[in-house]
Symmetry: C2
Subunit: 675 residues, 2 copies
């Protein structure tokens, strides 16, 4: 059944008003007094909303629209208030349903002959992110992490032996990487995987308490096998981190001999995920259980590896798992869109205080403060959406079987790490803003925001702590920078920076030429340009990254390598550079997205959204721009007024703006929209 034609969930129905519905307050009307029927035909979009959605769906429009149409929404949201066991049961059952409907193992291989379809996998993940986030993450654990590790780190035998049962959910498994003592520092994990020549087996051991695998999804209850990461020891030599398949539970769900699982119980959210601990007391598994695509032990009991350098091998192995971060970035983006879709609709309905000429009360979204809370966040949501499209496209190029260089792969990893950090930070902040913008109603579980907030919280930590990820981005930029400038003198350095910033990271988009031209023109005219001139935005974003990277590189060169404290003192600078870089690539993706949009009405709205995004970003860093003489104080002071003006321009189309974010109204799950 297509959701889009289901009359029972269509908006506009007046039945089932709950006592707590804001529908009880008068229906909203625009500043001009015309009635705005919030959510009318949200699922069968026409006009601006449809045009925006098509533009934002971008190169994946077909897949996304098809996925929206076929996504089974009967039990989209989990009832709040379930016990932990009920939640786990519900999520497992829902995962099975979704898998049957093609939204589980989408794009995942079922055997060695199969080829992965990263676009299908990411789009399926995005759709799941519209519903219960525990189910989303359960799917991520099973198909993305567990299945992904077997796929990417294993070989044909592993694929043929395990993937059919993994994709059909017959075999539920864990991705046992993180340890109690080692989260961000994966290379430092303590679990050992020791080759035992006598029996041609591996022995898995968590010797210290800190070696206990922790926060592992599927570990507390459902998993019967785990991909266990540990230091591979062969004949007394440590070959670094490798992964091995270890059965952990028997058919009755009891821990197998030597395995001790623990249930970590209640968390801040994601109640339906059975996160737990696993300890291994000299657990033996056959040699072939090692996922040995990048390194293993041969029939003679000798270690062999495709990549000799252990460090490079380690990063290559981890790099194959990049889809996890791409997906979490996408999921964070969808979570923010859901919250904005709810809060904007609330803000269009709810009135508070009367004012001259507004005897029925002022609509919340007519207040400047309310506009400033929601509209720039909507603009940023579009910006990250376009950036996500480019990221997913890069994943498709690299993991979809096409040709690619090691540099392409490395760039993909950097971009995925950075956008994951940016979008999940944004999701956390935005959902909270939306909760508060809905007042007491926002705090009621029935209106979906608090559950969303609780579940999305940990997105900032898992798949890489955001602060660590941003430092990874900065380090990658520095490395790239160093490769270009080497031992250049000052002048050469500046020229080289220009080259680096112009190239990294990932191939430029289709709008490359357009952006180059915009920047070049803006550079010549600079402050004569209006504040909504796209060239000026692009130039400002470019300069922020360029200059801060250059000065970081200089400071880094001065800091003596072995001096922890000297390098440590540059951490805040590193975070600034990383954010500046990611803001630039995001703006450029936005510009490319507008360039690809052929619908004039949608294009006009996107232009305004892009200006709002760009000016908000410049505004936040306007002290930096002033300090570095990139803008005059007069211009700096005028930015706020320009942001306010853009908010006023966008206010009348607020509803189509959130419709364009792609979340059908009937999927939102907020009681106060249940009309």
């Amino acid at each position: 059944m297509s959701l889009l034609t289901a009359p029972s969930t269509s908006s506009g129905s007046e039945k089932d008003r709950s006592a707590a519905s804001v529908a009880d307050v008068p229906t909203g009307s625009g500043p001009d007094g015309a009635t705005e029927r919030v959510g009318a035909a949200a699922d069968r979009l026409t006009g601006l909303g449809a045009g925006l959605r098509r533009a934002l769906d971008g190169q994946f429009a077909g897949q996304r629209e098809a996925a929206r149409e076929s996504f089974p929404t009967e039990r989209l949201h989990r009832e709040p208030g379930q016990s932990i066991e009920e939640a786990r049961d519900w999520v497992l059952a829902r995962l099975a349903e979704l898998s049957d409907a093609g939204f589980g193992a989408a794009g995942i291989i079922t055997g060695a002959e199969d080829t992965p379809d990263p676009a299908a996998a990411v789009v399926a993940f995005e759709m799941l992110a519209h519903g219960d986030l525990s189910t989303l993450i359960k799917s991520g654990v099973q198909f993305g992490l567990f299945g992904g590790a077997v796929t990417n780190l294993g070989t044909s035998w592993h694929h043929d032996t395990f993937m059919p049962d993994i994709t059909s959910l017959k075999l539920l498994g864990c991705f046992a990487m993180t340890e109690l003592g080692h989260g961000s520092d994966v290379a430092g994990i303590e679990t050992t995987i020791t080759y035992v020549p006598e029996s041609d087996e591996f022995e898995v051991l968590s010797e210290t308490p800190g070696a206990t695998k922790a926060y592992i999804g599927n570990a507390a209850r459902d998993g019967s096998m785990a991909v266990v990461f540990g230091q591979l020891l062969v004949r007394g030599r440590n070959h670094g981190v490798h992964a091995i398949l270890v059965p952990i539970r028997d058919a009755d769900g009891s821990d197998l001999p030597g395995v001790t699982t623990g249930d970590q119980g209640l968390k801040g959210g994601l109640l339906g995920i059975d996160n737990g601990t696993i300890r291994f007391d000299r657990v033996r598994v056959p040699r072939r259980m090692l996922l040995d695509r990048y390194g293993g032990v041969d029939d003679t009991g000798t270690y062999h590896a495709e990549i000799d350098n252990p460090n490079r091998r380690f990063f290559t192995m981890l790099g194959t798992l990049v889809r996890g971060r791409v997906c979490i970035a996408a999921g964070g983006g969808i979570a923010a869109r859901r919250a904005l879709s709810i809060a904007t609709r609330y803000g269009l309905e709810r009135r508070q205080f009367t004012a001259p000429g507004r005897p029925d009360g002022v609509i919340l979204l007519d207040y400047l403060t309310h506009q400033r809370r929601l509209l720039p966040a909507i603009a940023r949501s579009y910006a990250f959406g376009f950036a996500q499209n480019e990221l997913t496209a890069a994943l498709v190029r690299i993991q979809g079987g096409g040709e690619h260089t090691e540099r392409d792969q490395r760039e993909l990893e950097t971009r995925a790490a950075g956008l994951k950090a940016m979008t999940t930070r944004f999701a956390n902040d935005t959902i909270q803003v939306c909760r508060e913008a809905c007042g007491g109603a926002g705090y009621m579980s029935g209106n979906a925001l608090v559950g969303l907030r609780a579940d999305a919280d940990i997105f900032a930590t898992f798949e890489g702590d955001n602060t660590v990820l941003l430092q990874l981005v900065a380090k990658a930029l520095l490395t790239e920078y160093k490769q270009v400038w080497g031992d250049l003198d000052r002048v050469g350095m500046v020229q080289a920076t220009a080259r680096v910033v112009g190239q990294t990271v990932l191939e430029r988009t289709a709008a490359n030429v357009l952006i180059e031209r915009l920047v070049a023109t803006a550079r010549r005219r600079s402050e004569d340009l209006t504040m909504v001139d796209r060239g000026w935005h692009a130039l400002m974003f470019d300069e922020r990254e360029r200059h801060s990277l250059e000065s970081l590189a200089r400071r880094m060169r001065r800091a003596s390598r072995g001096d922890f404290e000297a390098v440590n003192r540059l951490q805040d600078h590193m975070l600034f550079v990383a954010r500046a870089h990611l803001e630039r690539v995001t703006l450029e993706a936005f510009i490319a997205g507008i360039d690809a949009c052929t619908d004039p009405e949608a294009r006009q709205a996107l232009e305004r959204l892009c200006s709002l995004y760009a000016l908000s970003s410049i505004n936040e860093d306007r002290a930096w721009y002033l300090e570095h003489s990139r803008i005059s104080t007069g211009r700096a002071k005028a930015i706020g007024a320009q942001i306010n003006a853009l908010c006023l321009e966008l206010r009348p189309v607020a509803l189509p703006l959130v419709e364009g974010l792609g979340v059908p109204e009937s999927w939102l799950g907020a009681d106060f929209l249940a009309r």
Copy 2:
């Protein structure tokens, strides 16, 4: 039993390490390699921690220390994972226990002859904020809101008739002000209280769905009576909002005739509070049930009021309820302190990644990024603590039976509204930062942060939406300003602003003279001063408020009064002014707090914390300072480095800094500290 001597909860014990405890990772050591035994003797403080705690306890040190010693902590924290009914039962039982121990109705009158003790009430509220926040808010609903309304809006008969049962918990009640259609706009509520001369009764009616009382604590289950706010109609005339006592449930817990209560069920937190809706269908109550201290109906059936002007009467009535905001501000402050106490201890224990010279791993708090996340927040926590002390002292002066003017009362209300907004915003942001700073461990319910976050979230909304409250502050400043400048010309205005900013709001602290001198000196020397010069900080805070208020007043004068949109466009400016004002009064409270501190070691740490607070505040607005030529670009650029330097200086005393925040380690309720 004194908590301070209870050996079973003392830190340092090595037993009961849980599998998920970070105690499993090596014990922390400072940058100098010396072992730092986190939490050792936290409850029996000596040295710097003790000195800081004494300074921050300030004028309420005796009461706070006594309360800490006698506070019953057996069931301080609620088990996560309770069902909603279990949570409600637990909270009600706990409230009874705490009341028996003197922490319930502390400071509340039990009859007409009694005098309130606001200091005792606020200190008791602060202590409760160290435990389960549902219990805190249940106490606030019963004693603060319900009991407070009867006390402040009622007369002797109400006091003698109801207060004994309210304080003994025999009579549980609701504060039924908010309606589904009217939250911030109290004056606009729709419920009517109509005098019926025939029977000498009042009839309470919620005619429309929007008039339904909503989000009311004690309404869903426990309350048997409610203070109902509504428009008082006497012989066809509306006398504005008044409050009346209405029984809502019989002894069996069933709704009384004409009353319909609803259960709003699950929320983002505060699971133990039975928030609900109440509708009244022409419910009759005797005339004397009206809380008629400020206005009522006499024996002849005629309306009479102490204050003729209905608007002034309304604000006077609401003003008597100011303690609620003072308490929520205090509670928000404590919630942030708890989170910082947990996260800082975690940051001192946890290591991640090795570095040159640090083979056992770098302690998290040695990373600059980690210092920047936690130390400025600790500094701000101190700042708000000192500001809270002044606020509570003002409440004591005004509600403790002493002499005061209407202006004192108005100033208290403004300050309470503003600090409530500032501290609850800070609490929300800080708890989240702390959660993330503890990584996956921070997401586990057993480590207390996520529960704290979920419960404190709504502090931003109840007792006044923060955005609305900040606008109240700005309006109060504008009113004050207008009273001073009247129709002055430009020059006169500037002089007048200087006077206003120097005076408002509330009497200056004991440090008044000191601050005046600091500012005057700084004004003469300005940029020659070092960046940790207190006079420079005070001057910068002063200038930010002064200039932004002056320009707001000018813009406001230009905006035509009846033009909603013109005034609306100034909302962001209003928020800036309000924050600038509150930052100034907070800094001045901090300076006064240091001035009162006689312990040299504590004083030195406070000086650094104050600089860190001041510079962080200036840093956030440094674009404003640049735009208004208050600092040079060179100085602006140097602020970040100075903040980093202060972090480095404070890093070695991080543990005493959080000890000084006054939360005994054994009260923190975080599993990973359970050693």
